[in-house]
Symmetry: C2
Subunit: 215 residues, 2 copies
């Protein structure tokens, strides 16, 4: 019958059952993925009845999508804001901007913050090729790419559009891979610390970009 919950009557703000469910979804899905969390896990964490998921969201799927969409959007805003901030200082250099882009995400992974887990979930969704991610993430990719390309070409005007896109992609590579596999790297390479890794990435990326510009 495609029933949807009417706009809640009591306390539309916070700590309603609906909100508690979204919080639980964020905490649990990000940790264990869609299949790893049952509706009863969610309602247990949110301290509500099993039926609440279907009552408020129309199903586990819908709840997941709602939670996922929000998180991706927030990550998107945050990244763009970070680029803008780095470009906004008096004399932005390639290195200073790269550092700004790279540092926070890696720190989030290093310190195992919640936002780090969300990023991992995003990657999992892409790899799992679930229906959920696709449309949401496409917008994310285009938006991020155009914004980053524009910033890079301001910093290094010698680059044409194609070069800038490839460069942005490679910077992304140098950021995402350590983000995902940091634990594994440090486990194998004791004697290298977090700061050394960040410095290396910034240096390596800048060298690659400068070499592209010199071509």
């Amino acid at each position: 019958m495609d029933q949807q919950a009417p706009v809640t009557q009591g306390d539309p703000g916070k700590d309603s059952v609906r909100d508690r469910l979204l919080d639980a979804a964020e905490a649990l899905f990000c940790e264990r993925g869609f299949d790893g969390v049952s509706v009863r896990d969610l309602t247990g964490q949110a301290n509500c009845n099993v039926a609440a998921v279907n009552y408020y969201f129309g199903g586990k799927d819908k709840l997941y999508q709602e939670m996922f969409r929000r998180q991706v959007q927030e990550i998107c805003y945050r990244q763009i804001a970070r680029i803008n901030e780095a470009m906004g200082v008096p004399n932005p250099t390639l290195e200073s901007v790269l550092r700004e882009i790279v540092f926070m995400p890696l720190l989030a992974a290093y310190e195992k913050q919640q936002r780090g887990r969300i990023m991992r979930l995003m990657v999992r969704e892409v790899l799992n090729k679930t229906v959920h991610g696709e449309t949401i993430l496409e917008a994310f990719h285009t938006q991020m790419m155009t914004h980053a390309v524009q910033a890079l070409r301001t910093l290094v005007p010698q680059l044409d559009d194609k070069q800038a896109r490839l460069a942005v992609f490679s910077v992304d590579s140098l950021k995402v891979h350590p983000f995902l596999f940091m634990d594994e790297f440090f486990a194998v390479n004791t004697g290298i610390n977090f700061d050394e890794m960040v410095n290396h990435i910034v240096f390596f990326a800048a060298a690659g970009i400068r070499a592209m510009a010199a071509k």
Copy 2:
């Protein structure tokens, strides 16, 4: 009772039920992951009875681990062989070795070959932090790292051990990220083709490494 199937009596070589199940596991698990494949999916594809999974492997888990371990080992051998081959030619350059390392995996992803799917599954396992992957993949990481570091330091003797490890990690970044997100990149960046991407990656990585050596 922890029963294990005795060494098969008939046709120990090929096309036994056991082998068909391993084939089915490789095909299905690599595509849909552990949770995405049911025992009945497997036995359906292998044309055998549901009980066969438990009879021959002692459970879905065990079958998965057996299949996963084999695949990872094969990938490991292949990668090391590739490095050796690239280093074995008369005058190996940094660029030629990098190209050798990068090209085949990316092509596998580009052409959506089976081996590409297996790599993706490996990444998924790491991200999912399932028990399955951990021990298997740790050996993989250490082995690959030491081998690659050795090769790189032969090519670029100015690098110390720490630098070489960071460089190898970054080359891995520049390879794995496109491997995983190639579709997404080409979807957003029409007008860039596969060869251009490979050339760029080799150039970018070499520039980064050369800059490290010059420090």
